[in-house]
């Protein structure tokens, strides 16, 4: 049976090309793999190989012809003994080219821009039942307790990182864990972030639930390919067959006087990635409750801690199994004049600012997002519908900031409720300096938050 040989597409973008040269002539016998012709694309001259065997019955497009569309019949292959007359004489325009159906516009992911939305449904239930005994606990202890509790309950959970075992943690987060769980489950790695992040991700593919400690998130830049390309995207790329149930955790953001390479806040970076979840707790109870949720989560979770907060104490409920869900913000302080939204160590500035503002008779509502992905925007919007003013606070840089995203969402979902432009308080747009006075100025300050709230309240 005669077969048409079609003009091939030889690159992802090729639509037409030049049939530069025929390397076979009519009557030649060809077999799979033989070079039939040279074809010029916009990028290169490519050799075009035969797939089927047979005899070149007829050449339909002469060499030298430019602008030959992909899928045009360029020659006809016949079988031995078959008459050339069996070959079709006219070259049909195109064979069975894929003509992808014109895709209708994708459904909008979020119902955007409703002018005057109803107040959104929010879950404002307390984190623990009233009357629960509270224990003063440092963030450091809370994180350790969360890991220990989850490891007791699930053999597949293990901790891996630099100095997590024998050294007891570079910041002493894993203190005591080696003694309790042994070296099979508390694993010291060499200083090799890219490698161990990849090994941990592979272990997650293989059915374990790794907790990867980065000594700081600054070093996770070495490993970010595995966090994003390997851990976050595999569930999607595999059509839901396999993913990476794991936690990447460690201190994030500025500590004190450690310079530009050890002081970056990665909240906005990781918040952008579909497939990742991102938590950034402020208090010890959130550190514990969110880390326990993160370890149980079947998705890769970025857990951003803060070195300055490690030693601070907060009330933690004494409960057998205390968890905090992702995507549920916490209102630390109710207020009526302006909303301050923050997360992580930014909460320190937000709460201090609210105290100062109260002294001046300005009532600020302070919301801790706790998780950035998923982000509890309904709680923010509900608050803005009440206060009509919004200030966001974070330590990271201004361009592409978390606050910038919140401002744009609030503008789209609650524009009519805003009585002033949203102000996004961020760290300064500079690498972190070492000098004490410069570092203080590079970070967000409580006074800047106070000034921003006054500006949006026109005081």
């Amino acid at each position: 049976m005669a077969t048409e040989i079609l003009m091939p597409a030889l690159s992802p973008t090729m639509e037409e090309g030049t049939l530069a040269k025929w390397l076979v002539k009519e009557g030649d016998t060809v077999s799979s793999g033989d070079i039939l012709a040279e074809i010029e694309t916009d990028k290169a001259t490519m050799e075009f190989e035969a797939v089927d065997e047979g005899i070149i019955g007829k050449i339909l497009i002469a060499e030298g012809r430019e602008g030959v569309a992909v899928n045009t019949a360029i020659a006809v292959l016949v079988e031995e003994g078959e008459s050339l007359d069996a070959a079709p004489t006219a070259a049909p325009a195109a064979g069975e080219a894929a003509t992808p159906v014109e895709a209708p516009a994708a459904p909008a992911p979020v119902a955007a821009a409703a002018a005057a939305p109803a107040a959104p449904e929010v879950d404002s239930s307390p984190d623990w039942p009233a009357g629960t005994e509270l224990v003063k606990t440092t963030v450091r202890e809370a994180l350790r307790d969360a890991m220990a509790e989850e490891m007791r309950g699930d053999e597949d959970v293990f901790l891996m990182g630099e100095e997590v075992a024998e050294y007891q943690g570079a910041y002493k987060i894993s203190q005591g864990l080696l003694d309790e769980f042994g070296s099979k489950r508390i694993i010291d790695t060499p200083i090799t972030e890219h490698g161990f992040a990849g090994i941990a991700t592979g272990a997650a593919f293989g059915g374990l639930k790794p907790i990867v400690e980065f000594m700081t998130f600054n070093f996770a830049m070495q490993a970010i390919d595995h966090i994003i390309n390997s851990a976050a995207k595999t569930l999607y790329m595999s059509g839901g067959q396999m993913g990476a149930p794991m936690v990447f955790r460690g201190p994030n953001g500025a500590a004190a006087r450690v310079g530009a390479q050890h002081s970056q806040d990665y909240a906005a970076w990781y918040m952008q990635i579909p497939g990742l979840k991102v938590a950034m707790p402020y208090s010890a109870s959130d550190a514990k409750g969110l880390l326990k949720s993160a370890i149980r989560d079947p998705n890769p979770v970025i857990f951003l801690e803060n070195e300055i907060l490690y030693g601070q104490s907060f009330d933690v409920p004494k409960m057998d199994d205390f968890t905090v869900p992702f995507g549920k913000a916490k209102i630390w302080r109710e207020g009526s004049d302006a909303t301050i939204v923050s997360f992580g160590i930014g909460m320190k500035y937000a709460l201090e600012a609210a105290d100062k503002l109260a002294e001046e008779g300005i009532s600020a509502e302070v919301i801790d997002l706790r998780t950035l992905r998923p982000m509890d925007l309904p709680t923010v919007i509900k608050s803005v519908m009440k206060t009509n003013r919004l200030v966001t606070v974070e330590e990271g840089w201004p361009q592409g900031s978390v606050g910038g995203y919140i401002a744009s969402e609030v503008m789209q979902q609650a524009f009519d409720y805003l009585d002033a432009p949203v102000i996004t308080c961020t760290g300064k747009d500079v690498p972190m300096p070492y000098a004490a006075n410069l570092e203080r100025h590079a970070l967000i300050t409580t006074d800047e938050v106070v000034a921003a709230v006054k500006q949006v309240t026109y005081r």
Binding site: P8, L10, E96, I199, T201, G243, N299
Partner: protein, 329 residues
């Protein structure tokens, strides 16, 4: 090609030899068809064909046991077919259709199968190496006796994470076979221009990982070496490196004109070393099969491949709702 010569007579039955012929031929014909569908615009983007390298995966699969894992780069169609993933599902993924192994969301470079213990399909050169060691880490943690085949190319062998992984695999005695598929070109750069050592497996010596070079055009040599490597890993001695010297006949991807080597070089390899022809000769000269037997196999393979192409054309494009699924578990 400095590869270890097999001194003993191959310990293989006629049935096994016929199976290798069939498995390699399936990959060859499948890839040729994929190239053709690419030319017709039915397959888009990047498409990296495995033609010429068939003996590598077929030989190593012959050394694997049920439950062993495998992971590789983006030149992955051969690995999937060799471990038993359906040609229909692979081809339909290439055309981006609902019937594809990743529902059309992965493409040529990203397919997976939990059932067949195939963990992708990874597009970042070298990234599959620590991932593969991680799979082995999980097996060692569970103490289940499984081994992971972690495939990567001579190009990936220059990535830093490979050596980070060698180090950890060695200190933790991970049951992983590192299979370096040395096809001699990292995209368009010849090994001699990119790689300081002519024998890449020797780089394992720095980490105390044993290794050897293998004639990757000879499926029996690959199987033989694979069995040594697997036995080493399964006995708890840690990782093993196989540098399988092979050759890809086609360009790096469909859009590679391959001007960095001569047509004679490719032709010489094809006519003198072709892995499928070698087995074909063995079958015929050993009188294990007749010309007719082999023709029947050819026909059978052609049917499987043609059917997969039909399936891949007829399977519908994924529903638009699929855009929003499988992001979170």
């Amino acid at each position: 090609m400095a590869a270890r010569k097999s001194t003993k007579k191959p310990n293989v039955s006629a049935e096994e030899l016929t199976q290798y012929y069939r498995d390699m031929l399936l990959i060859r014909r499948f890839e040729e068809k994929a190239g053709q569908l690419y030319g017709m615009g039915l397959i888009g983007g990047f498409c990296h064909l495995y033609i010429g390298q068939e003996a590598v995966v077929v030989g190593l699969e012959a050394a694997a046991e049920e439950g062993d894992k495998r992971i590789t780069s983006y030149r992955d169609h051969g690995h999937m077919l060799a471990c038993g993933m359906e040609a229909n599902g692979v081809m339909a993924e290439l055309t981006g259709r609902e019937g594809g192994l990743s529902k059309g969301k992965g493409g040529s470079m990203h397919m997976f199968s939990k059932e067949k213990h195939f963990y992708g399909g990874h597009g970042i050169v070298g990234a599959q190496v620590p991932l593969g060691a991680g799979l082995a880490f999980a097996d060692k943690y569970k103490d289940n006796g499984r081994v992971t085949f972690t495939y990567f190319g001579d190009g990936a062998a220059n990535q830093g994470q490979v050596y980070e992984t060698f180090n950890m695999a060695a200190i933790w005695d991970l049951p992983v076979v590192f299979v370096i598929e040395n096809n001699q070109y990292a995209m368009g750069t010849a090994q001699s221009r990119s790689t300081s050592t002519p024998d890449i497996y020797t780089r394992g010596e720095a980490f105390g990982i044993p290794g050897e070079a293998v004639d990757g055009m000879n499926v029996l040599a690959v199987k033989d070496a694979g069995e040594r490597a697997v036995a080493h890993c399964r006995s708890g001695k840690g990782p093993y490196i196989l540098e399988v010297k092979t050759y890809r006949y086609r360009g790096h991807s469909m859009s590679d004109p391959a001007k960095y080597r001569t047509r004679e070089e490719v032709q010489k390899m094809r006519s003198e070393r072709d892995p499928i022809e070698q087995v074909r000769d063995m079958l015929l000269t050993g009188k294990h099969a007749s010309e007719e037997d082999l023709k029947a196999i050819d026909k059978e393979i052609k049917e499987i491949v043609n059917k997969s192409a039909d399936f891949a054309k007829e399977s519908p494009e994924p529903a638009l709702e699929e855009l929003w699924t499988d992001i979170y578990a």
